[in-house]
Amino acid sequence: MMRKVVSLLAVALIGAVLIVALAKMPEFGGGTAFASLFLFLLGLYVMLTDSNLIKKVIGLNIMDTGIFLFFIALGYRSSTRGAAYMPSPLIFGGLAAVVSFTAIGLAMIVRLYKYYGTIDAEEIMRKRGEDE
């Protein structure tokens, strides 16, 4: 419970700073960018608080999707300045990274399940405590 409150506060703080930073930019009115930041924060919160390891991985994916959407929102804005070619390779790179992180993470979770018979992080910690 304590952990959830602390995480919520941390995420809210990061969100407030990001929104303040974006809102102070001239000619920034993109609802897409705000929506993408909301996704980023949602994913971050799930990743920090949920004890189910698979849900943590889902949170990670939501977080990164938020970042990609943020880039797309920027690409739309900057297309008027003729510099829209750069975000797409960066998103490709980011996508490849997230897919790899997800793959390696899920592989490790499968093997952990074989050892402990659960994918709940707290349960694993408890069983590990009993082992020692």
Partner: protein, 489 residues
Amino acid sequence: MSHLPVVILVVYLAAALGLIPLSKLKRFSPGWGALAVTSLALLLAIVSALFVGANGPYSLFPGGHAGQGIEIAVDWVAVLMHLTINLVGLLILVFSQGDLESELKRSYLPIYYAVYLLALFALNGLIMAGDLFNLYIFTEICSIAAIALVAIKPGKQCLQAGLKYMFLSALASGMILLGIGLVYMVAGELNIRALAEAIPQAFQTCPWNVYVAVSLIIVGFGIKSALFPLHLWLPDAHASAATPSSAIHSGLIIKMYIIAVARIIFQAFGPNLFGSIPAPKVILLLSTIGIFAGSVLALVQTDLKRMLAYSTVAQISYIIMGFALAVPAGIRGGLLHIVNHGLTKSMLFLTAGAIIYKTGIRRIEELRGIGFRMPLTTSIFSIGALSLIGFPGFSGFVSKYYLAFGALEAGKPIYVAVILASSLLNAVYYLPIVIRAFLGHKTGKFTWDQLPWPMTAAMTVLAAFNLYIGILPGGLLGLVKLAAAALLP
């Protein structure tokens, strides 16, 4: 000749991809194959360094537009780090010829070597990335290879450590990407040179955006390079991984992220902007806490590898402190400590691995009298311990001397006191091991180490480099001065 650094990358990538299919051949040993590739890369790095020495630093623009887009910057930082990475990487690989079969399943060996080469590939690319896109991609490849190097060893502990590392590393990657996005949003550029021109104006129009981008990038790379409160993944990962993985992690990987973030901060954002925001003060404070907390936590550990891992937390804080001082002498100290600690800590992890290989001892208390059973290994451990304490005549002294000099140059003499006090703390946890190993109760009679020759050779060569840098630091210092000037003119 000017394309040599790219050839290094191509060689590593091709070898990493080809190693697994090739290992199906009966007569092909993946370990010696990887060793041959790394030796070739070291040779290429030396030739490339001589070329840069003769013709001066240069940049390659694969996109075809000089000054913008993708850039491969072959400056003195890249030369210095190329030599360090390929030398240390080669020696760890030599060691693993003797050690790895005792730690991994035989069928995993080709995969291990392929991932190891992939990590070296990413490290070599990361330190000469001249634009944020390349830098991000190589950071990701390096992170994923690093996670695989931890998680590949069978056992619950490695899996848990790897999973923790994976989540924190992925979080850090997200932050770095968001930071790069925010920079791109205001500056419209990703090339570091172009950014250096575009950022001052962007800072005028939307300072908040730049603040947030700098903090996201620093926190992201801080997680990956284990800046103090963000080091949570490090002790588990470094202590549980296979010996060569621990050595490359502590010795190379976490430090090259610091080079990457130093490039972004000093070359793109510029030292003036960095000095005008509170970031350096916060980083200096955190690294000071990290130096003491890492040392104190190392002091209470009972497991040898875990103690070395916490010692890495303390030592990495020295490097970060040197860079955060943002004066030439501090950066020289930081770069020197990257090289020295890279050589020393990988050597210490290898000696710990050799002790575990031979005797199975992991607990520090049981090391009493180990100097009589493994005299050479224990002597090499002592050289590393004295170097990290900063004993005059050993390599750690040279870098700590420059760090202290940097603190004076920056007008912050308090950090000289920090360095002195923490050296004392280092002595408190390293010296008892050495003293007990040689002067503790004599158990059994005196024997030589009797290790496989690749392990002995790798440790001896690392020790020789350590002694050489400690006694004759002149050549390295010349290189470091040029590299520091490339980061902070």
